[in-house]
Symmetry: C2
């Protein structure tokens, strides 16, 4: 019933050695004879002793904890992707014997919120942190990096002279967009629109840039009326298409969505207008969201492996914390077209 209050002195006493030796055993020092070692381990085992983490950290060891910061004003909780991200980080950190402290940032512009995030680093609760969903070059993250904390940022630009404590990871959005446009062009589309993502995010920018480049390379014109704003959320796709269908008489035959959520929203709006996908308008997404395959119609999209990305990010971040891989600065993962049923030949 009583909480264990045994400490290293007690273990030392019971094993007939000094606390120094107990510590050496726990930390696997090589200069402890097997016999002493076994004797101590036996006592540790018997009394269910685990060293107090705070004392260890205070004495100079790492917290063996990383922070996972999810920036999303919306409904993080209902997004199946978010879940995969969280679980990927936790599981891969766990393999390296690290813990994950997850924090949700609803408003990255609120100074009180920023203060809380900074506090977690300054309090030394974590050895480093991963940020997901941040604006490109988000100032408070730049500051943390500047202050020397080990930080990994997903979907972020690498500066010209990157600090050794910064890691950045991205998908090859340019390639993805080129594949999307090439596929549509191959199906005979030339009237292609786009619903953009959040342009404060690097991926929002690179996807749109990729789209424009791809259109040019396919010899196609970008019609400004078919370039629509969005923010990576379902609703923005819905709203964009609502507006388009409400105003424009000239419609595109295909639309590239900044991600699958946006594509879902777009399709919903199209259906509400009594039109069909892909019969009236073809839609291609980006991400290959867990629901895309089961969507009606099954969504043609650009597949991206978030789980692999977060695994690598987590691994490299921890290696950086432990001063191993000093050279890794950037992680880039490819993406590839998955053909389903939301685009048709015309």
């Amino acid at each position: 019933m009583k909480k264990s209050e045994i400490n290293s002195s007690e273990i030392a006493r019971l094993a007939g050695v000094s606390r120094s030796t107990v510590s050496r055993v726990i930390n696997n020092y090589s200069n402890v004879p097997a016999e002493t070692r076994d004797k101590v381990l036996k006592v540790i085992e018997k009394y269910n002793y685990f060293p107090n983490a705070s004392a260890q950290v205070l004495a100079g060891k790492r917290a063996r904890t990383i922070g996972l910061f999810l920036i999303d004003q919306g409904n993080v909780s209902s997004d199946i992707l978010t879940n995969m991200l969280i679980v990927s980080v936790i599981e891969h950190a766990s393999v390296l014997d690290y813990y994950v402290l997850t924090h949700i940032i609803r408003n990255a512009k609120d100074t009180e919120v920023i203060r809380n995030v900074r506090e977690i680093f300054y309090q030394r609760r974590i050895d480093g942190g991963i940020f997901i969903g941040a604006a490109n070059r988000e100032p408070f993250i730049e500051q943390l990096i500047d202050e020397g904390f080990v930080v990994g940022v997903v979907d972020q630009e690498l500066p010209d002279h990157p600090e050794p404590n910064r890691i950045v990871s991205n998908f090859n959005n340019d390639s993805g967009m080129k594949q999307a446009v090439a596929y549509l062009a191959g199906l005979g589309h030339s009237r292609i629109g786009v619903v953009n993502g959040d342009m404060n995010r690097l991926s929002g920018q690179t996807k749109y840039e990729g789209f424009k480049t791809a259109m040019r390379m396919c010899g196609l014109q970008v019609n400004p009326k078919w370039v629509m704003d969005g923010d990576f959320h379902e609703t923005s796709g819905y709203n964009a298409i609502q507006t388009l269908l409400g105003i424009e008489s000239e419609l595109p035959t295909a639309i590239v969505a900044a991600n699958d959520s946006v594509a879902f929203g777009a399709i919903r709006a199209i259906k509400e207008h009594g039109l069909l996908v892909p019969d009236d308008i073809s839609i291609i997404g980006f991400d290959d969201h867990a629901l895309s395959e089961k969507h009606h119609p099954p969504l043609t999209t650009i597949r991206v492996d978030f789980s692999a990305m977060l695994k690598r990010m987590t691994t490299y971040l921890i290696e950086k914390i432990e001063q191993k891989t000093l050279t890794v600065k950037e992680i880039t993962l490819d993406c590839s077209l998955v053909v389903r049923e939301s685009c048709r030949r015309i």
Copy 2:
């Protein structure tokens, strides 16, 4: 570029007071004159000082961190419900200024895994923990409670003489099952089957018990051939119905599924056999999963508010940690029928 290394001595020196006073200011002691307080706060603010968390904990303060333990052998990552649970806990802990250390337990029977979980408590990384997905009376959790740690367990029986450091939360599964059966009976069904959940879990047991009681109260017979095993996962629903449709010539007109995932699997199997829901067989689920509304057909189910449950669990757990609500032992939430299109009148 350099990591902040300022500490309370430094702040004390800069403010012209002692470390004791700095500590008193930080901890909001009442016996510090406003003037001194302001002077110290100014320096703290200026130098961006945050007390080292490990030192605070070692000196006797709480870690202000709770553990969230998710037990799931399967694909935690693809379950949208899990995400909501994690986010609910994190956000409500955050309101109370607590952090959440999330841990995934793939195999609650593996001694090494159990050791890791126990370690987190013994290391004093957390002040308490919440377990989700555990078997009823899972021994290692019982042990932690026995050892005096503050623990909340979702979907768990309350023992006869509950310890003050235990909280348990459940949905009123009995009521839910009665509503489900009553609804089906009202639609004219008398041939009602059930796909059970994991019978090691309390909810697996209570749902089945509720089902049997409800059938009796409606004057209906439980046909043992229509009582199928499951484990709360989609696949088990699929397998159960595959077997049923493969073997039995006499079929039920309606099936109650232990949860919505099981219902999805059941419907998938029914469709594969060329039958229709609800035309050939009616299906009712349990949970009101985020996808149930969008399912084809939209799933009739028993709605349950996981987010509210986890919010209350988190709040009470932290209050227990802080020795406030000493009386709360059990949280029970009601559930209610949501009629959609997966059940028909016969």
